[in-house]
Point group: C2
Chain length 356, copies 2
DNA sequence: CTGAAAGCGCTAACAG
DNA sequence: CTGTTAGCGCTTTCAG
């Protein structure tokens, strides 16, 4: 493996090559024969700079490979050009895709993206509580599926800090979310249309379902669809899958080995659906012959295994939130909009009519 | 657990939300009746501060909710307490887990983690080229599976910037990697032990195969194992799977529909293996009856679908690299060690003896 | 349109 | 052990 190629980079090679030293604004100023103030103005594209002066300054700056020291700029202006994204965890399909979307926008817009994880309420609280500290670090924060209680929202609102939320919808900050009731409805309706009546649900219990409960809303949506045909969701058929593959496996195993198993399963995420698919297979059940499965997300694997699902545009969530933040930071005062990201049913081969 | 690990609020709201104004070191100094220098020293745990003074300063600082303005500290010291992690992409199983590992360590050690993506050589070059700019932003950089050519390594080496690499091994910077030849060997040997002789490989073309070629090494390892029994890897049976699920599907389809298909497939990543599994199923092939499949990684889904694989400890890669960087930044001059992360075969149910 | 000068808040000599 | 005093490099009034 070792690269023992021709040119071995010598560690302590004296700078003989044109390694450009960092230059300061003052050096540029002297070299250009103007004041530092002018350099600052010229380089930042401010008005009130003669075109000729600007050209000259720009040239000199390029020659000297000058770039403003962000720490100094930050100290002087109080703006850091950095956005923090707060996620419960980063190594899951959903969150890593949200971060990817945000990262793309941030890079494009010249902002740095800091990743903060807040796996539990305690740490989340700490993140919010030290927002004062962060405020000097970051210009804005994106909270992803991190339920902020009223008093923390208020704390955040008091700070000079742009905030956006993904998932939660508040009346103080811009947000992006999907209509989860609709998501649930879409999935259940599809199953109903196929003729299913006994529908199992693999979801999760929200710890504090009061004001921000994604699984609850998806389940409610499914209930709504069933209600429209006079049916109902059977409580015994709603089990916890913890939003993990394994959890989905276990949940489906329980569901399918019960007395009167459902003819279809609605998993609240594709990963849980994968687990369910594996469980069905291990039980010798045919999908969709013996049991239909529908998920939510449209994970990369879904198209490959033919999973019917309700597609979400996850990276878009991150991108929209980041864009809202950047806009606000640029001073473009825009209404604190609540972007509703679309979701659509993608029918593939894990769903079909129930056996008679 | 709850929705995707979503963080829910604790019901108990703090009695009041005392919104504390940010205070400066000077305010603390006057309040404590000492000089700013003493405050700085006391709060940073420097020696040469009377215990009583320190206690008093700490108390006042707490009362005033003082926290050093990082921008100011950064400007004064030149250190930012920020580490950047450069990944080709962030929304893949491997990279998001590496980032997670690094993030955990950074948080623990009081460093901020900046995520930079460099999906191609051009952007990677840009990242390196602007390291000067970054230098003022970050104290260190972790390059994850980002092949740095000699001249870029040299550029980086010249800067006052701690660097660590994951995957690539250089003689200038600390690194962490797995012995990919051994990984390939482990997988192939397992297949050989089962009696397979015609082994297909799903891999990828390295962007710059010259000096840093993970797929090449894994393939070489497999070739080595085959060589030990006088066999060889058949070039026609080595196909590109692009390290994606879909790529794996396509590659396996091609492999298995050929004239004389292999009795076993070694996929260089679990995700490609998942694709291969799906392809086999779609072709009506039994696994492992008709074809065995072994992957690399030990993805969460692997245990659920019973995929035999070579397990890597991915989050550990990120953690070790981050820790090396932090150590260096703390001045603990330690040899630029090359950490070799372990990998081990995990036999499950997708591999078995070939049909006769 | 441009320059001088006063900070931004903190750290780091250097005295004492 | 503690205070004084320069800066760190940039932005931003305020004059001119």
């Amino acid at each position: 493996m070792n690269y023992r190629g021709a040119v071995t980079p010598s560690t302590k090679a004296p700078a003989s090559s044109p390694i450009v030293e960092r230059s300061t604004i003052e050096q540029v100023a002297t070299a250009a024969g103007v004041s530092v103030a002018t350099v600052s103005r010229a380089l930042r594209g401010l008005p009130n700079v003669a075109a000729s002066t600007r050209t000259k300054v720009e040239r000199v700056a390029r020659e000297l490979n000058y770039r403003a020291n962000p720490a100094a700029a930050r100290l002087a202006t109080g703006r850091s050009h950095t956005i923090a994204i707060v996620v419960p965890l980063i190594n899951s399909w959903y969150f890593s895709n949200v971060v990817a979307g945000a990262e793309a926008v941030c890079t494009e817009e010249g902002y740095d993206l800091l990743v903060l994880t807040a796996p539990n309420a305690e740490l989340r609280h700490e993140v919010v509580a030290t927002a004062a500290e962060l405020e000097r670090h970051t210009d804005g924060m994106i909270f992803v599926e991190v339920a902020l209680p009223p008093h923390e929202l208020e704390q955040l609102g008091r700070r000079r800090l742009a905030v956006a939320t993904i998932g939660q919808q508040t009346d103080t900050f811009p947000s992006v979310h999907v209509d989860n009731v609709r998501v649930g409805s879409l999935a259940a309706q599809h199953l109903l249309d196929l003729g299913h009546r006994r529908i199992g649900v693999i979801g999760a219990q929200a710890e504090e379902p009061s004001f921000f409960d994604v699984p609850g809303q998806r389940i409610a949506g499914a209930g709504l669809a069933l209600g429209r045909i006079g049916g109902d969701l059977e409580p015994a058929l709603v089990v916890d899958g913890q939003f993990t593959i394994e959890g989905g496996y276990d949940a489906a195993s329980r569901l399918l080995s019960g007395e009167n198993p459902p003819s279809a399963i609605f998993a609240l995420s594709d990963e849980m659906a994968f687990g369910a698919l594996a469980a069905a297979r291990d039980m010798g059940l045919d999908v969709p012959g013996d049991v239909s499965v529908v998920g939510v997300d449209d994970h990369e694997l879904s198209s490959v295994v033919g999973l019917t699902t309700v597609r979400q545009h996850v990276a878009e969530h991150g991108a929209v939130a980041a864009r809202a933040l950047v806009r606000r930071l640029r001073g473009q005062r825009t209404a604190p909009g609540h972007h509703v990201s679309t979701a659509e049913l993608v029918v593939r081969s894990t769903t079909g009519p129930p056996m008679l």
